[in-house]
């Protein structure tokens, strides 16, 4: 029987690797109605199906690959999907999001959601082919990097159009920040979900499908989608992104305003950063790449000449540039490219990898570790050869790489010698390359993100400069100016962070890309509501209030997941450096983050007294069962 709502296929594929079995379940209508898709589905499924305190690398953990109602339609920038599990890096809620083409292909193959449970005795890969499902041996794939694995799977099935999610050596070796790679360059990067695949002996998931996605109100959907494309094409605020990609324009701006984490966040000014700006990097551009249904094409490909050799490489995103460049004190762009490429091939998150290296460099600077401790590597700031060498060592858990592969929190705990002071993490996840001392709302964003330090869950742009006055006024009212736009003020930041967290929860459930709504805001929640209603035919989705209600449900569910693991307000903090060490130089000189004020406001807006959702908050969102479980466990 056809699914009653448009946009969804109406099927969940559940695969049990321990029993070598799979079966198809109908997508519950209540799940679609109350949780929308993507992230929302994953949050509800994981809360319901995982017991607290399970080992994230054990067979009890589940890996969810989840799409939304817009995935696979022609809606602009909607070719994304969510991956979630209990994180082996943080021990709490783990989620990552990915572009590319896998999400649409999974739906064309017949499924909205994949649930992978259990653990295979031997390496396997999952082959989903237009509704048919096989668990196939992956002995010959094991040990290969992600690009080789993708190519080999396509060769095995004789079809270059097959979409493949793969892990590399890092996932196989259970590196705590291993990632999952789609289509060579697109990555579900954070929280170590590649290690969850590795622990399940699951090398890859391959999908091929020839079906389509049916929308409910075709005429209205096409009208809105055409208007959406028109908006993206005409949006001059997207020009920089279309032309240069995500990294060079941001590097240029952040280096000038004093907001570029440098030498493990010791400062926010890096003198050599101009080497990564628009003017310097433009010479390497050869082409642009796009994810499914994306007219922005923000992914840039570089051609690099080294002697007579020529290499084609993916240009790094801002976070990767800063992780291996300024934050490791390196002005060597080619080394950044190399480290970034190795991370993709080994399947490792660049932000975490760069941050553990920066920690080691600071430990070396402070005399906490010696050259001997570092396998003979001189870990001076900017030693780009050492940065690149460490990527291989981490992926292979070789020597000092074995310590770093545990992530910065566990590495510092194991090393001791006062090194925890320099471990830049929140909830055990390495800091993203942002710093609340130069961009105040980011401090609150990083402290409250359910997956640990992360800018993407609630990144506020309006306090990146007074140039955003217009959008700040439209969203939050003129009376919030000037503080809401002030990068150094705490006032009103909770309002903006909470709003963005809600809007982005909907973005990640539909699912759509940050770059069409975070900045610039070509789409915002009213557009999401209209698109969701036309696609699904669920009239209530057309109401912005309903969208905010679903968003709050998802945010509270993630919070409840962490509370069940024993992590509440105690995890909502920042490294001591961000709270107490004033920036020594540049435009942000003297700045520290007063987190307490922003947290107080945030908890009040969320209706979380002392950081804990009240029973009433949960019941009002229809989460009475969640309230009961938290009460049973003594968490509320």
């Amino acid at each position: 029987m056809e699914y009653p709502f448009g946009g969804y296929i109406g099927q969940i594929l559940r695969v049990d690797l321990s029993r070598k079995k799979h079966h198809v379940e109908p997508l519950p209508k209540d799940l679609a109605r109350n949780y929308l898709g993507g992230l929302g589905f994953a949050a509800r499924i994981l809360f319901d199906e995982l017991k607290p305190k399970i080992d994230p690398l054990g067979p009890e953990n589940e890996l969810i690959v989840s799409t939304g109602p817009l995935t696979g339609t022609v809606w602009p920038t909607s070719g994304r999907f969510a991956v979630a599990a209990k994180s082996p890096l943080t021990g709490v809620w783990g989620e990552a999001h990915c572009g590319g083409f896998f999400g649409p292909m999974l739906k064309y193959a017949g499924y909205d959601v994949l649930i992978i449970q259990g653990r295979s005795e031997k390496p396997v890969y999952l082959w989903v082919d237009d509704g048919s499902v096989e668990i196939k041996p992956a002995k010959d794939l094991w040990g290969h990097n992600t690009a080789e694995t993708i190519n080999m799977v396509r060769e095995i099935h004789g079809d270059p159009q097959i979409e493949v999610l793969s892990i590399g050596k890092a996932g196989e070796n259970l590196v705590k920040f291993a990632c999952i790679v789609n289509n060579y360059y697109d990555v579900a990067g954070r929280t170590g979900l590649g290690a969850v695949m590795g622990a399940k002996n699951l090398k890859a998931i391959a999908a091929r499908g020839t079906n389509g996605v049916k929308v409910s109100n075709e005429e209205e959907f096409l009208r809105l989608a055409a208007e959406g494309y028109d908006r993206v094409f005409k949006e001059e605020r997207l020009d920089g992104l279309k032309y240069y990609g995500t990294s060079p324009p941001l590097i240029d701006m952040k280096r000038l305003v004093g907001d570029l984490p440098t030498k493990n966040h010791q400062t926010l000014i890096f003198k050599e950063a101009e080497k990564f700006g628009c003017k310097a990097v433009e010479r390497y551009f050869v082409k642009s790449r796009a994810c499914f249904a994306c007219p922005i094409m923000c992914k840039k490909i570089h051609k690099i000449h080294s002697g007579k050799e020529e290499s084609i490489m993916k240009a790094p995103e801002y976070e990767s540039t800063c992780a291996f460049g300024p934050n490791c004190g390196s002005g060597d762009y080619r080394a950044i490219l190399e480290a970034n490429t190795l991370c993709d091939l080994f399947g490792m998150d660049t932000m975490s990898a760069g941050t553990v290296v920066a920690w080691l460099m600071e430990c070396y600077e402070k005399g906490i570790v010696t050259k001997k401790d570092c396998d003979g590597l001189e870990m001076n700031w900017g030693n780009s050869g050492a940065i690149v060498t460490l990527m291989e060592k981490i992926a292979n858990r070789d020597g000092i790489g074995n310590l770093l592969a545990e992530g910065v929190y566990r590495a510092a705990r194991k090393l001791g010698r006062g090194s925890m002071k320099y471990a830049m993490h929140v909830k055990k996840m390495e800091m993203d390359l942002n710093d609340g001392r130069g961009h105040r709302s980011l401090g609150l964003t990083q402290a409250t993100s359910p997956r640990g330090s992360c800018h993407m869950r609630s990144l506020v742009v309006v306090d990146q400069g007074f140039a955003f006055k217009k959008v700040a006024t439209e969203r939050y009212g003129k009376d919030k100016l000037p503080e809401i736009c002030d990068p150094y003020a705490e006032k009103y930041k909770a309002l903006a962070v909470k709003d963005c967290e809600d809007v982005y929860a909907i973005r990640d459930s539909l699912t759509m890309c940050w770059y069409a709504c975070g900045w610039p805001p070509a789409f915002w929640i009213n557009d999401f509501a209209a698109a969701a209603a036309a696609t699904t035919g669920i009239k209530e989705f057309g109401n912005v209030k309903e969208m905010y209600l679903i968003a709050a449900r998802i945010c509270n569910l993630r919070r409840a997941f962490n509370l069940r693991e024993g992590l509440g307000a105690n995890g909502d903090t920042l490294p001591e450096r961000i709270l107490k060490e004033p920036i020594p130089d540049g435009p942000s000189k003297g700045q520290v983050v007063n987190l307490k004020i922003m947290l107080r406001d945030y908890y009040e807006l969320r209706k979380w007294p002392n950081g804990i959702p009240s029973r009433k908050t949960l019941v009002d969102l229809g989460l009475e069962d969640v309230a009961e479980e938290l009460k049973r466990l003594g968490r509320i």
Partner: protein, 94 residues
């Protein structure tokens, strides 16, 4: 007396250059400098100023020695010798 104007992102393409040096007089402010800049690079000015109001278009950023001018006196901020002005097209994120 002279100031340096650095132009970033795709604005350089419109201006045909990324660095412009202009002389200034005592008590010159950013807006008077922009008028002078417009005479030399009309396309650039057209890109950053609203044609009806003459104000800086929303989302464009001007930094004076790394500081956002809106934190001080905006486009009425006084300039001094060797100041560096940076003009940015819309950019945000992390």
């Amino acid at each position: 007396m002279e100031v340096t104007i650095k132009i970033y992102g795709d604005l350089c393409k419109k201006a045909g250059t990324d660095t412009i040096r202009l002389p200034i007089n005592e008590n010159d402010t950013i807006d008077t400098l922009l008028i002078r800049l417009g005479k030399r690079h009309p396309v650039l000015l057209e890109a950053i100023l609203d044609p009806t109001t003459g104000e800086l278009k929303p989302y464009f950023n001007i930094l004076l020695n790394g500081h956002q001018i809106q934190r001080t006196s905006g486009i009425h901020t006084k300039l001094k010798h060797k100041d560096e002005l940076a003009i940015f097209p819309p950019v945000g994120g992390g």
